[in-house]
Symmetry: C2
Subunit: 412 residues, 2 copies
C-alpha cells in the first residue's frame, strides 16, 4: 500500500484539470499512447518469457541505455535488498571504456543471458557494446549461443530485422510506447522475470492503480499535477527526496521520465518544463538541504519514505564519553531514525513555507513498485497535457546525434 | 594538465571581480578561511599519517557523512579504476538499515582500519553507526582494537575529547575549514594515504593551481565566477556534465560544495544562489539533454572530459546485418566515441544558444584531481563573495536537527 499526501493547498476542480484527465483518457482509448494498457497487456509477454527455461542462466547481461536500462535498474535496485535470491543483472550502458572493461570481467559467458535492448534498434552506445561483447566472447549467434542472446526492440526496427536474420528470440516494445515509458513493457517484464522477481505483482500494482485513476479515485494526482503546472514558472524545480539508498536508481528513472517528457517547446514556441532533481535522505540533508531552505525559492519537494524496511538493525545502546547528547536515539532501530529524519526535514521545510508532498510505502515489494511507476507516469502525462506540449517526443536530442555522425564519419 | 575553456562571452575586468579576488586574498591572509592553505599545511598531516604502519590493514572503514565522506569518495572513485592496487574503502554514511546491514557483512574486522570522521563530533548518523559497529564487532577501544580505530575531527570537539579519553590516534580538521571544504585536510589526506594513493601529488596539483590563481594567472576562473554571478537569477542552474562514469561521486561532491555554499540568504535578506546538478555523459544524453535544449532556458553547462583513460577497448569491427549505419564507429576506441559524444553535445547545445564551459583532463591522475578540487572551491568562494553571502555557514539545516531531537526525545 502507498499513501499519497499533498501538503500544498489544492485548487478546486477546474477546466484545466478536467481537460487533462479527458486527454489522458483519449490517449489511452485511441491507442495514441500505449503505456496505459501495459499493466494488462504485458501479462502476455510474461507468459511468453515463462516458456523459456531460465534455469540455464545464473547471470543476466543487459545492454541498453536510457529508457532501455533506467527502469530495469530502478526496480532491480529497490527489490534486490529484500530478494537476495535474485539473479545478478550486469548493466552495460555508457560508452566509458573503463566501465566496459571492468564489467566485461564480471561476465560468465557460459551462464549468462544477453539482452540487447534498443527501441530504435540503432542506439550507438548499445550497438557498439553489443558488437564488442560478441567479438570478445566469440559469441556464435547462429548456433552455439543463439539460445542465450535475446533482443527487445520495436517490431520492424533494424534490430528486430537483425534478430530475425539470426533467429534470435525477440520481445517487442509496442510502437506506441516511448522508451522512458517502457519499463512495464517487455523491457522490464522479461529481464526482471529472468532475474526471478515477481513481475505479475508489479503489473498488478500498476493495473489496479491505473484503474482507480481512470475511475477518478486518485484525485490527489490531479491536484498535484495542477499545482505543478500552475507554478511551473516560479517553482520550476521538483526535488524527489527519497529516504532509502535503494531508491537512487528510481530517482534517476524519474529524472529521465520527467525531464525528457516535460522539457519542451510548447504550442506557442515557448521553452517550458520542470527540472527534476533526485536526492537521497538522510545523506543529502548534509548536501542539498541548505540550498532548498535558504537558496532561491524555486523548488517543490516530493518526499518518499519506506515504513517497513523488512530488515533492520538497532542503534547500539552505548554511551560514548563526551558525546552523551546523541543518546536520545540509543536502542532505536535505524529505520526509525531515518523515518524520523524524513519527518523532521519535511516539518522543517514546511515551516519555511516550502511546498511538499509525501509518498509513503508501507513496505518494499513488487506491488508497491508497480504503483510508484505508474503514479509518476500518469503525473508526467497530466502535467504535459496541461502545459500543452508533446509529452512523448524528444526532438531536442537529434541534433547532437547528427553532429556525432558527421564528426566521426569525416575522420578517415 | 587540465585545460579550462569558457565558451561564453567574458566581461571585461571590473570592480566586482576585483573586489571578489581581494576578498579571497583577505580570507586567506587573515586565516578567516582555512582551505586555501591546506595544500601546503596538509603535508604535515601526511607525514604524521606516514608514521603509522598501514600494512596491518587491508581494508578501510570510513564512518562519515556529507563533507566527511563525499570528497574521499569522489577522489577514490576517480582514481581506483587506474590504481587497482588501492585498498578497499567501505563507506558508512546513511542511516538506511539495509545499507548498514549489507556493508557490515563486508567488514573484515581483524584487517580493517576504522575512521570515525565528524567535524562537529556529534553527527547523528555517524555516531549512531559508530556505536553500532563498536557493539557488533565487540571492538575494544582501550586495548585490543585501540590501534585500528582513528578519529578525524575538530580539535576540542566532543569527538576529540572522546578520542583522547580512549587514547585513539586523532587527526584534526582546522577550525577554519568547513566540512565541504575539508577534503584536502586530514579528512581526505589520511584516509586516501591509508588506501595507498599518492596524496602528495594531489596536494601538489592543488598547491600549484592556488598559487597561480593568487598570482592572477588563472583569469578564466574570475571570468566564469562573474558570469555565474551576473546571471544567477536567469541562469540559476549549473549542470556539471561529466563524461566518465568515475566522476559520478565527484559530481556529488560538487553538488554539496556548490549548493550548501551558495544557497543562502544574502545581506539584503533575499534568497539567492545557484542550483547544482550533476549528470554523466554519454548516459544522461538519454535522460537530461532534451530538457536542457528544449526546456526552460535557466541552465549553464560545464562539461568535463578525460582525454586519455589510460586503458581502452576498441569497438569491434563487425557489421550487424540491417544495422550497418552504426559502422561509422567500428574500430574506434570507446574513449574516442565518448569524447566525440561530449564534443558533439557541446557543439549542439551551443548552436541552441546555451552557455557552456569545458574542463579537459589530459589524464586521470592525482595531480589533476588536486587541481579540479581546488578549482571548484575557488570558484565557489568567488561566486559567494560576489553574491555577498556567507559562503561558509549552513544555518538552514539546523532547524531540522532540532525537530528531530524534539520528536525522538519525547517518545518514551
Amino acid at each position: 500500500m502507498i499513501t499519497f499526501l499533498n501538503n500544498f493547498e489544492a485548487s478546486a476542480p477546474n477546466n484545466v484539470v478536467q481537460r487533462a484527465f479527458l486527454s489522458l483518457q483519449e490517449e489511452m482509448q485511441s491507442e495514441k499512447v500505449g503505456y496505459y494498457k501495459l499493466p494488462r497487456r504485458s501479462l502476455e509477454v510474461l507468459e511468453d518469457a515463462k516458456d523459456i527455461d531460465t534455469s540455464r542462466f545464473s547471470q543476466i547481461v543487459v545492454i541498453g541505455i536510457g529508457g532501455s536500462s533506467l527502469g530495469i535498474k530502478a526496480i532491480d535496485s529497490i527489490l534486490r535488498p529484500v530478494n537476495k535470491a535474485a539473479k545478478e543483472i550486469l548493466f552495460f550502458e555508457n560508452s566509458d571504456p573503463l566501465t566496459i572493461l571492468s564489467q566485461i570481467q564480471k561476465i560468465r559467458p557460459a551462464e549468462a543471458a544477453f539482452f540487447i535492448i534498443s527501441k530504435s534498434g540503432s542506439t550507438i552506445e548499445t550497438t557498439s557494446i553489443f558488437k564488442t561483447l560478441l567479438h570478445h566472447f566469440a559469441l556464435d549467434l547462429d548456433v552455439k549461443d543463439n539460445h542465450r542472446v535475446f533482443a527487445i526492440t520495436d517490431n520492424n526496427s533494424d534490430l528486430s530485422k537483425f534478430a530475425l536474420h539470426h533467429k534470435l528470440k525477440t520481445f517487442y516494445i509496442p510502437h506506441n510506447v516511448g522508451g522512458r515509458f517502457s519499463v512495464l513493457s517487455a523491457v522490464g517484464v522479461v529481464v526482471l522475470h529472468f532475474a526471478g522477481y515477481d513481475v505479475e505483482a508489479i503489473l498488478r500494482g500498476a493495473a489496479n492503480f491505473i484503474e482507480r485513476f481512470f475511475d477518478k479515485k486518485e484525485k490527489h494526482l490531479l491536484e498535484k499535477a495542477y499545482f505543478f503546472y500552475k507554478n511551473s514558472k516560479s517553482l520550476s524545480i521538483n526535488v524527489l527526496f527519497s529516504y532509502a539508498d535503494s531508491l537512487e536508481n528510481f530517482n534517476k528513472w524519474y529524472v529521465q521520465l520527467w525531464g525528457e517528457s516535460l522539457g519542451k517547446i510548447d504550442v506557442n514556441g515557448e521553452h517550458v518544463g520542470l527540472t527534476p532533481i533526485g536526492i537521497i535522505g538522510a545523506t543529502d540533508q548534509h548536501s542539498f538541504l541548505q540550498l532548498i531552505i535558504e537558496g532561491q525559492r524555486d523548488k517543490t519537494l516530493t518526499f518518499i519514505a519506506v515504513e517497513n524496511f523488512q530488515d533492520d538493525i538497532a542503534i547500539a545502546d552505548i554511551t560514548l564519553e563526551y558525546i552523551e547528547k546523541t543518546n536520545f536515539v540509543n536502542g532505536k532501530n535505524f529505520s526509525e531514525l531515518i523515518n524520523a529524519q524524513c519527518k523532521a526535514v519535511m516539518q522543517s521545510v514546511e515551516e519555511f513555507g516550502i511546498n511538499t508532498d509525501f509518498i509513503k510505502l508501507d513496505i518494499i515489494n513488487e506491488e508497491n513498485i508497480g504503483i510508484l511507476i505508474i503514479y509518476f507516469e500518469l503525473l508526467t502525462s497530466l502535467v504535459g497535457s496541461m502545459l500543452k506540449i508533446d509529452t512523448y517526443n524528444q526532438n531536442g536530442v537529434e541534433c547532437g546525434k547528427k553532429i556525432l555522425y558527421s564528426n566521426l564519419s569525416k575522420k578517415v
